[in-house]
């Protein structure tokens, strides 16, 4: 096992992960006590020498942790980052601010399909570069004659210059639904919606069943089929526990509106890189925010509105 690998039990190749068929909250306590007693012996044997892993193995849900426990967990992630990448990182767990509901606007009349956002996102959020290659943003090239129609969309377009005549571009990423099918389907409640609207994943609780991926109508969730390939020199050290901290093999990941940036007041990386200014971000509860001005003055539409997912991600036409 190379030094970049996660400790046994983390990448699915060591000891088994806690993968009980628990779907109801009331059963959680039973599951824990079961694991503590029945599986403890075997787990201790398998995980001896991996103190961190043992602690993770019996860790409660992220939302149940006390501030001290969170601090310990973050410290552990930082320590593991250091082991894996040889770099100092800062892992935070900033919570949602009261009175904030994030909204995202994407101007379809401006996007030129240059894919700058795709790679800015990869860099910011520590996605796996190759094998598996994971892109949280997928830019679709569509025909102006057909409008927004997935039957006439091309994800793999190549061109010397964009925009190409007769085409328009339609980037798709997590829509941060208010009624998220992915959250409903997760058997371990490893994914949930935060008060400011960001749908997050606790990678320590994800068992890799990929139910959420099949539930998501936007193809916004991506699976680490192998240990993510992430060169240490490209690691973004500014991390959030529920966002861009490096993922182990066998977990699902997705756009978090750059939680590590937006929870600290900054724009997401895709907003800042967009050369045409097609991406708008802000607080939906602030009447003076850019996103509210978009909502009030432009033609706004919702992707796959008929599915009643109620996204916090809006497409609009400024012209």
């Amino acid at each position: 096992m190379s030094s970049r690998r996660w400790p046994a039990g983390e990448d699915g190749e060591g000891a088994p992960r806690p993968a009980g068929p628990v779907q109801v909250e009331e059963l959680a306590a039973g599951r824990r006590s079961f694991l503590r007693t029945a599986a403890a012996g075997a787990a201790v044997a398998a995980l001896s020498g991996c103190g961190d892993s043992l602690e993770d193995f019996f860790r409660r849900r992220f939302k149940e942790l006390s501030p001290e426990e969170v601090a310990r967990v973050l410290e552990r992630v930082e320590r593991r980052n250091k082991e894996r990448f040889g770099k100092d990182t800062t892992v935070r767990a900033d919570g949602a601010r009261p009175g904030v509901e994030f909204g995202y606007g994407l101007d379809i009349s401006r996007c030129v399909g240059c894919r700058r956002c795709v790679y800015a996102c990869v860099k910011e959020n520590n996605q796996s570069r190759e094998h598996p290659q994971i892109h949280w943003i997928q830019v679709l090239e569509m025909e102006k004659d057909h409008g927004v129609d997935l039957a006439h969309a091309d994800l793999y377009y190549e061109a010397d210059a964009v925009p190409r005549p007769g085409k328009f571009y339609f980037p798709v990423q997590c829509q941060q639904c208010r009624n998220p099918p992915c959250v409903k389907t997760c058997p371990t409640q490893a994914t949930w919606k935060e008060p400011d609207g960001i749908v997050v994943i606790d990678y320590d609780w994800c068992i890799g069943c990929r139910c959420c991926m099949s539930a998501c109508p936007y193809g916004a969730r991506h699976f680490n089929w192998a240990v993510p390939t992430l060169p240490p020199e490209e690691l973004n050290p500014d991390q959030h526990y529920l966002g861009n901290r490096p993922r182990p093999k066998g977990v699902v990941e997705k756009c978090t509106f750059c939680i590590q940036r937006t929870r600290r007041g900054r724009y997401p990386a895709c907003v800042e890189i967009c050369p045409v200014g097609a991406r708008k971000f802000g607080n939906l509860l602030d009447p003076e925010s850019e996103i509210r001005k978009v909502m009030e003055t432009k033609r706004v539409f919702i992707f796959k509105e008929d599915l009643a997912t109620h996204p916090q991600f809006y497409y609009f036409y400024a012209t």
């Binding site: 290659q133 089929w225 007041g265 724009y267 200014g277």
Partner: protein, 197 residues
């Protein structure tokens, strides 16, 4: 009494746009696009063509000729000029008397750094959207200080249709300048069958 109110309302209606217009004109760059509720910082303006500014270094000694004509000089601007060339020419925006500034239709002189006031004379809808943060780009904090870009950071005023932008450094600060070439897209994602299993 109702007549007084009506008069007042009328006066407000008449004054309203004029007052906002003046405020907009007097707007310092910092108060440029929005009402100044949050801190807005103007990005560095894109660089001039090399050796072209200040214009008065050449034009100061030349006779002032306001007649519309093909110029024997400034070929790089004339060759790309596609900003309604049927109707516009140099001196519709550049000032004949003071070559180092621009001027509005009403004759008000405007420094190059505030050229958005000039653009907004015709492109009022874009100016309005830009002030709200809908048109154009902002970077920084969604809830605080942000940097906004000017029309000319993305649009070449002589060939204004958006093509692409390039990153440049002006006086030690990173900013963007319009390019005449369209952007080349980044590599396409791998197809599932191209991923190693």
């Amino acid at each position: 009494m109702p007549r007084t109110i009506a008069k007042l309302v009328l006066a407000a209606a008449l004054l309203g746009p004029a007052a906002t217009g003046r405020a907009a004109e007097a707007g310092t760059p910092a108060a440029g696009p929005a009402g100044g509720r949050e801190k807005l910082v103007q990005a560095e303006t894109p660089p001039f063509s090399e050796g072209i500014f200040p214009c008065s270094s050449c034009h100061g000694d030349l006779p002032k000729n306001g007649a519309r004509r093909e110029l024997a000089f400034h070929d790089e601007q004339q060759s790309i000029f596609s900003h309604d060339p049927e109707h516009l020419w140099c001196l519709d925006c550049h000032d004949l008397q003071d070559r180092d500034v621009l001027h509005l239709i009403n004759g008000t002189k405007v420094p190059f750094a505030e050229s958005y006031r000039l653009c907004g004379q015709c492109h009022g809808d874009k100016l309005r959207d830009w002030r709200l943060g809908i048109h154009g780009k902002r970077i920084g904090q969604w809830d605080g200080a942000k940097v906004y870009f000017l029309c000319v950071n993305c649009h070449n005023p002589h060939s204004p249709r958006f093509k692409g932008v390039t990153n440049v450094v002006v006086e030690g600060k990173a900013t963007v300048a319009p390019s005449l070439e369209f952007l080349k897209p980044e590599p396409r994602p791998r197809r599932p069958e191209e991923q190693r299993r």
